[in-house]
């Protein structure tokens, strides 16, 4: 009679252990991936940021020298950080505003909604290199169609990717062309706003602007926050478009040996991620490249932590 009693917890323990093993088995691809492609390189990056290393001869301890070099003597750090912050502030704001506008517009379209939605969405799919090449051609100051049309209309014709004052606005225009992802997200959110709230607001005499301000905006504010924060994180990684635009506009691309002026024109499209590439893979200054990488990591994770706040509901915990 006493026998089954001790065996029950043992069976329970065995079941627990089996469940544990099962969980580990299911998670194992990602657990390995996390270690090999996240934790290990991250720790190494921090380690290398304190080492003098050219990628060939053995690394030697450098203390804070790389940090001192990047922050005080490397001539392009603050310019790159400034450009990145410019893009974060202007590009993200305009993209979210424009994406919301296009999302609102598509919910109001009665005829041909599917066609319009596809038209608005397509540019988002264009491969970044191809899209950037297309815009480098379209915004080509001499012969591009855009300046041609602006000329016909008697408007000023900016130098776009060849003018430091216009290169970041040109990149912003390119980013707004690819706003289709935000349009879809906002469209779904807008369709979820309860219709009764609009009717109630209308009965209270609210005009279109007031309905937008007091009904729509509060209802979709979590999505706006999501779009802003993911936009900021994406823009911190902004790389392909900036580098391709600079190369095409400066005429120095492809081939070997040709050194292209980073951030052409006049460093105006130079960003933090390009700095990692340039320092690490062109100047073989691994230590300084890792300093920039650590700074990039710290900035990105600061913004990610906003997303992870329960309030934004990204994880949808039950």
């Amino acid at each position: 009679m006493a026998l089954p009693l001790p065996s029950a917890p043992a069976a329970l323990r065995r079941r627990r252990r089996r469940e544990h093993a099962r969980t580990l088995a299911f998670l194992s691809p990602w657990l390995i991936g996390f270690g090999v492609f996240f934790a290990y390189p991250l720790v190494s990056t921090v380690y290398f940021s304190f080492m003098r290393y050219d990628g060939f001869t053995a690394p030697t301890f450098a203390g804070l020298r790389n940090w001192d070099y990047v922050l005080t003597r490397y001539p392009f750090f603050w310019q790159g950080l400034g450009n990145t912050l410019w893009l974060v502030a202007v590009m993200v704001t305009l993209r979210v505003a424009f994406g919301l506008g296009i999302g609102l517009l598509i919910t109001k379209v009665k005829t041909g909604a599917g066609l319009f939605r596809t038209a608005f969405y397509l540019p988002y799919l264009a491969p970044p290199v191809a899209a950037t090449m297309a815009f480098a051609f379209l915004l080509n100051p001499g012969t591009g169609p855009v300046n041609h049309l602006l000329g016909e209309l008697g408007l000023p014709q900016p130098g776009w990717f060849t003018d430091p004052a216009w290169s970041k606005p040109a990149l912003t225009l390119l980013a707004m062309w690819g706003v289709g992802d935000l349009m879809v997200i906002f469209m779904a959110a807008l369709l979820d706003v309860p219709r009764e709230q609009y009717e109630a607001a209308e009965l209270d005499g609210a005009g279109p602007w007031q309905r937008f301000r007091y009904v729509t905006l509060p209802a979709i504010s979590p999505i706006v926050l999501f779009a802003v924060v993911t936009g900021v994180i994406q823009t911190m990684q902004y790389y392909t478009q900036a580098i391709v635009a600079g190369k095409v506009a400066s005429g120095v691309i492809g081939g070997s040996g040709q050194q292209f002026e980073p951030g052409y024109p006049h460093g105006s499209t130079w960003t933090l991620p390009q700095m990692v590439y340039s320092l690490g893979f062109q100047r073989f200054d691994t230590g300084s490249a890792c300093v920039v990488a650590v700074i990039l990591f710290a900035l990105s994770m600061a913004f990610t932590s906003v997303l992870l706040r329960r309030r934004s509901g990204l994880l949808g915990e039950d």
């Binding site: 099962r22 088995a25 299911f26 799919l125 290199v129 379209l138 994180i233 990488a293």
Partner: protein, 295 residues
């Protein structure tokens, strides 16, 4: 009298009804004009790129918008450019293998994160999101050194494809968001029928998760197809391992005055992605909403 008394009533009702109708028509016209204007902004770049791709070399350097003569052979010229076919093959290989491996390795992880209760679950989920948001440039230097010095595999597609064996954070996240919406009853029914977790995942959950799996596959395919940073780092030293997005840029270098050929190449790189979208539009749009809005 009867007629006269009905008149004021009719004049009182009818103007407001027709006013409402007129306002509705005006609203329709305003919305659709705005939509047409927006459509022009989104579509004209494609049109200009295409028109330039069929111009002659000389005309592409002028600001004429319409081709004098349609030079379809530009596409043939691009197609026959040395390397172009290799870039295609490499891109298909990278995107195809990458997509397959990502789905196979991410699905069980997403299932565990959505369904199993274990200690550290929240931590694991937070780590997935952190990985998803990590700029690739943060970890690239140790990773490059690892592939170059330890494995001697740079200048090939291996460093691009192999990591897909170990799950992709974005795909895991998207799949998990979907799996949370699968009703518990289905899983309990499967358990009562004696299914193990793996069988439940493959036989019960997978058929229901088809739209999410399709979305993940498409996203991963596009992200490999569009990747420029990865191929630039790992494959650039060997022209035989270049992909389309890396090759396209160097194509412009080799034909730096030929905007017509460059735009034809651009069209050829964009076309498959656009085509694939038209074939799988629904899955794609569902996927975008799933990552952004649920929860």
């Amino acid at each position: 009298m009867a007629l006269a008394s009905s008149l004021p009533a009719r004049t009182a009702v009818r103007p407001s009804a027709s006013l409402a109708r007129r306002r509705a028509v005006l609203h329709w016209v305003a919305v659709h004009s705005l939509a047409v204007a927006a459509a022009l902004f989104f579509l004209l770049p494609f049109v200009f790129v295409f028109l330039t791709s069929v111009m002659s070399d000389q005309q592409a350097l002028t600001s004429d918008l319409w081709p004098h003569r349609w030079r379809w052979d530009n596409y043939l010229t691009v197609w026959r450019t040395p390397g172009f076919l290799t870039w295609w093959r490499n891109t298909l290989l990278y995107a195809g293998a990458g997509t397959l491996l990502t789905v196979v390795s991410s699905l069980p992880v997403a299932y565990a994160l959505a369904r199993f209760r274990f200690r550290g679950r929240h931590l694991a989920l937070t780590a997935v999101v952190a990985m998803m948001m990590l700029p690739p440039q943060v970890t690239v230097i140790p990773m490059y050194l690892f592939w170059a010095k330890q494995l001697h595999l740079t200048g090939s597609l291996w460093p691009l494809v192999v990591p897909m064996l170990f799950g992709d954070a974005f795909s895991i996240f998207l799949l998990r968001q979907f799996l949370l919406t699968v009703p518990r009853e289905y899983l309990e029914a499967a358990r009562i029928d004696g299914c193990g977790e793996l069988r439940t995942l493959l036989r019960v959950v997978l058929p229901m998760a088809k739209p999410a799996v399709a979305a993940v596959a498409l996203f991963q395919f596009f992200s490999c197809w569009n990747d420029y940073f990865g191929p630039q780092i790992y494959a650039s030293e060997n022209e035989g391992a270049w992909t389309l997005s890396y090759g396209l840029e160097s194509f412009k270098g080799a034909h730096h005055t030929n905007w017509n050929l460059t735009m034809a190449a651009t069209v050829l790189v964009m076309a498959p992605v656009i085509l694939l979208f038209f074939l799988a539009q629904k899955a794609f749009i569902e996927g975008v909403t799933l990552t952004g809005v649920k929860g």
